[in-house]
Subunit: 570 residues, 2 copies
């Protein structure tokens, strides 16, 4: 498959053969390779030398259940390092189906104009989008749907006001199978990179594209079947279908690791009011257009997503996920699912990462700008982001900058990116992941909460985090959703089989780990050249000093573990 | 001489012998040594593990002309690296005279209370200062003068609201020989470190202290005489006496390197209205309490300082210096010396670095928050810092953060610290200094404007910057003012002679360069452990791309020069 290179300054595009060293990679791993090859590591992430990359995973384009995620990447304006953020929706499938290994957006316009980049079998077109400036993602998507009348297979990736204004917590929204721009490649400020390139939206229409040819169709078919069976047989699949990711609220609360009031506590006294059970009950009671089991992409059998209805049964937001419930709920002292859903809606509409925004709001409460628990005041602060006030801009740039400016020491962030919904003092393996992931603190880079270990023991976390990080880097390179991993874990032989069926490759059994290793090796190489050292692979100092109730644990995994975790890859 | 260690949590102090490896150093070099020995390089600069250090230079305490500067240091909350900022005034002399090699403030109070630390021959006392919270430096100094009735030799170091609120562009003010808190150890946020330690002011009263014993009094006396003769004979000394540092306005403007309207131009069409000549004329015309030749410390023969009077002859601010005139004048499009002096006064009163604040205001104008040239609007923004609004906090945290939050790419900063009043595209040797100094962009770390070279030639700047940096690091270790260097340059043999006279040391002739080398070696070692790499030794990318009128030059010193400049020291 070739790559598509789009120059946003000259507004031209060309199809080029994929370099041999890029071919064995996809998604996250391919992004790391491209960044190393094309972006000077010291480049300004919002300048002309950064490249915005859209790369489906190696297994994308076949409607394998939960395997069509899109990886978006570039040098991060938030962390200043390598960045990959992935999302469900249609984009991964559409790009692969259109026959591209990846799409690269290069350079920077000089005229301040805005564009919809229209990509189809007819080529690449720049359509003026100046009329869409300032519009939220929902309105933008609605107008573009009307303007282009695209079909159910076309994908749309777009930014909201946050990305336009180059706020560093801005993500890129992708429409889901229903056309709702609800799937955010949220983390690390890639929306700001898209904004810096003058792109309001990217429409990828694969209409008329033939199916992707398979090297060994029968091998692929058998492997697909075996994988799907394993996935459907896994009990966790049904928990996600029933409760969505919100099932994690109670689990994390029990372990004392649920971020509460700006990470000052690990248990929330109202946890049951924001739990997966409570959310399910609310959706079922209100009924209407709500849904407890909802697929973000065609072909997904897990359906962890949901649609939260308001009191009248109208959609309030979709999906409401664990990370958002924690960061915009317990972390803000808010126990009201409606308010959390409302905050989530505005974050999506602005095109902002709910984790970094939630953490920033927590820091703002810590600074005395509003009282924890007063959802209306949190919503008023979010309104300032729409209004582009200095305070709004501050919040839109995420928790780390907000903490610096407001003079707060208790800021949950690593490498400038907010810690997600697992307090590293209570779930220390995930703390190791936060500290050592080349991505910065990230909830998808290697969770450890399901490992059968004592999460408080500082001496057993290193290998657990490492293995989780390697697996996730591998899955992110394949385009596989974190929840599909339950299926692949039960049928690991299907991964080499699918790659053989798709590409004819004769890959080793442990190809998943090999892809993960290569990905993290490349990412660390980029980060090293960008100026990262072991000093950056650390949890915030205050978390090593301030005990977290109720476990009263601090993060005490030895620095040596963090420093040496990836030494063999460097 | 022993060191004094003050623990601000337990409110206790103890006198300890100076470790042997600390003895050959003073001022800036000693600070680097202490940081390496005592502060974990990854420590939070505003947390309990940072140490705030006050260290006179090796030659401090003798009223040698312009050689009693105080070096203040710690890990910088602005750059996250090593930091030394020095100032005139009384503090250097008083600490040396009291018999201390250095005073260290360690740990962090837990109770949120504020203190005046009173240091005299009677020991160390913590006096409550909660009543002074929120007061500017001028009012605080006045109240403390009244409260303590201290004599003309006692020193006072204090912070304003900016330091209390831990704004990262906050400095530490020192009273001058007249008791005015006008001498700021401004750069790198050391005022925030002092604030993080609950110290509003430090009073050092050497009353009753005997003269510092000299190892070879006659040698010292002769060297002192020879140095003073060389200094007084130097024509530059008289230029500084006549025009102060403001003489630089015309020189820099001619070279096309005067920061104008947020570094978008290198010449200011109204430069002559803010020049040294204009300033001198204004002071002489208004007369009253104004002064063109004013000494910041007792015994100074250069008297580069000034007192700017208002229309009624009352003091408006003292001193008004080149860096401030450029950053708060031409850089803001302001051609009115009264307005610049007013901005300077408020910055001093808040306890803020005029360079980082001026640069932040320029970035804010670039972002459209106010129109360049409208001084009243700039003053209104400064008022927001007093009011502690989010925007005020933003500005008080300096240009780099302001640019990030406001979404401005044209931000003049290196390692998070604002570039001073020499545009690196027109005076490229100083650009090399900005990029490679362990201190971040800094106007005292090694200027090159007086070198007899083509300042636009990218290929001759490396060695010039290196030599200037080594000399300045040496002078900063001796406690020598940058302008006293003219004297020492003419009589270099007086430096080893003064050290022999003072300590009995038999030091080599090139001791100045050796001290400079050792200082930079130690600083780089600390920075390396704190996470700095060659990737951080760079000028902002936009300055390598955007030509600066009228020379239309970009910063094009090869990266290789920056990367290798200090390689032999690492």
């Amino acid at each position: 498959m070739p790559i598509l290179r789009v120059n946003v300054r000259t507004r031209t595009a060309q199809v080029e053969p994929t370099p041999p060293t890029w071919q064995p990679l996809g998604g996250r791993g391919l992004i790391a390779r491209i960044l190393l090859d094309m972006v000077p590591p010291t480049a300004d992430p919002l300048g002309p030398r950064n490249v915005l990359i859209f790369a489906p995973g190696l297994l994308g384009g076949h409607r394998l259940s939960s395997v069509d995620r899109i990886s978006v990447g570039g040098k991060s304006p938030l962390t200043q390092g390598v960045k990959e953020a992935n999302a469900g929706g249609r984009t991964g499938w559409a790009i692969a189906r259109l026959g591209y290994k990846a799409i690269l957006f290069e350079d920077q316009p000089r005229d301040g104009r805005w564009w919809v980049v229209h990509i189809s079998r007819d080529g690449v077109r720049f359509d003026p989008a100046d009329d869409l400036v300032g519009l939220g993602t929902y309105e933008t998507a609605a107008r573009l749907r009307e303007r282009y009348g695209f079909g159910p297979q076309a994908a749309l990736a777009l930014i909201g006001p946050a990305g336009e204004r180059q706020m560093r917590a801005a993500g890129i929204a992708h429409i889901d199978k229903d056309g709702v721009p609800s799937r955010l490649a949220a983390r690390g400020g890639l929306g700001a990179v898209m904004g810096s390139k003058g792109i309001k939206a990217i429409l990828v229409d694969p209409a008329g594209s033939p199916a992707i040819p398979l090297a060994q169709p029968e091998v692929f078919k058998q492997a697909r079947k075996a994988y799907l069976q394993a996935l459907l047989a896994h009990p966790q699949t049904h928990i996600y279908e029933t409760y969505g990711t919100a099932a994690m609220v109670n689990m994390c609360n029990r372990l004392g690791g649920l971020p509460t009031r700006n990470f000052s506590q690990g248990q929330f006294e109202h946890a049951e009011r924001i739990s997966g059970e409570a959310l399910r009950q609310l959706i079922l009671q209100r009924n209407g257009q709500g849904a407890t089991a909802h697929a973000c992409m065609a072909g997904c059998s897990i359906q962890c997503s949901n649609i939260v209805p308001d009191a009248h049964g109208q959609p309030l937001v979709s999906p409401l996920e664990y990370e958002t419930i924690a960061l915009m709920g317990s972390n803000l002292g808010i126990a009201d699912l409606d308010a959390i859903a409302q905050l989530n809606f505005y974050a999506n509409d602005l095109g902002l990462d709910t984790i970094d925004l939630g953490a920033a709001l927590g820091v703002a409460a810590e600074a005395g700008l509003w009282p924890f628990g007063q959802a209306n005041q949190a919503l008023a602060l979010v309104q300032q982001i729409y209004d582009n006030t200095p305070l709004g801009r501050l919040l839109g740039n995420g928790a780390a900058i907000t903490g610096r400016v407001l003079g707060v020491r208790r800021v949950p962030a690593v490498k400038g990116q907010a810690i997600s919904a697992y307090d590293p003092r209570a779930i220390k393996g995930t703390g190791v992941t936060y500290a050592t992931s080349p991505q910065g603190a990230d909830h998808t880079a290697g969770l450890t909460i399901r490992a059968q270990i004592d999460h408080l023991d500082p001496h057993v976390q290193g290998p657990v985090s490492r293995q989780a990080q390697l697996l996730m880097a591998g899955y992110d390179t394949l385009g596989v959703c974190i929840f599909a991993a339950f299926g692949f874990a039960k049928a690991p032989e299907t991964i080499p089989a699918l790659l053989r069926g798709r590409y004819g490759w004769d890959v080793p059994e442990d190809i998943l780990l090999r892809l993960g290793r290569e990905t993290i090796r490349l990412e660390r190489a980029f980060n090293r050249a960008a100026g990262f050292t072991p000093a950056h692979d650390r949890i915030p100092e205050w978390m090593t000093q301030e005990p977290l109730p109720p476990t009263n644990s601090v993060f005490d995994v030895p620095d040596e573990v963090l420093t040496t975790l990836w030494q063999d890859l460097d």
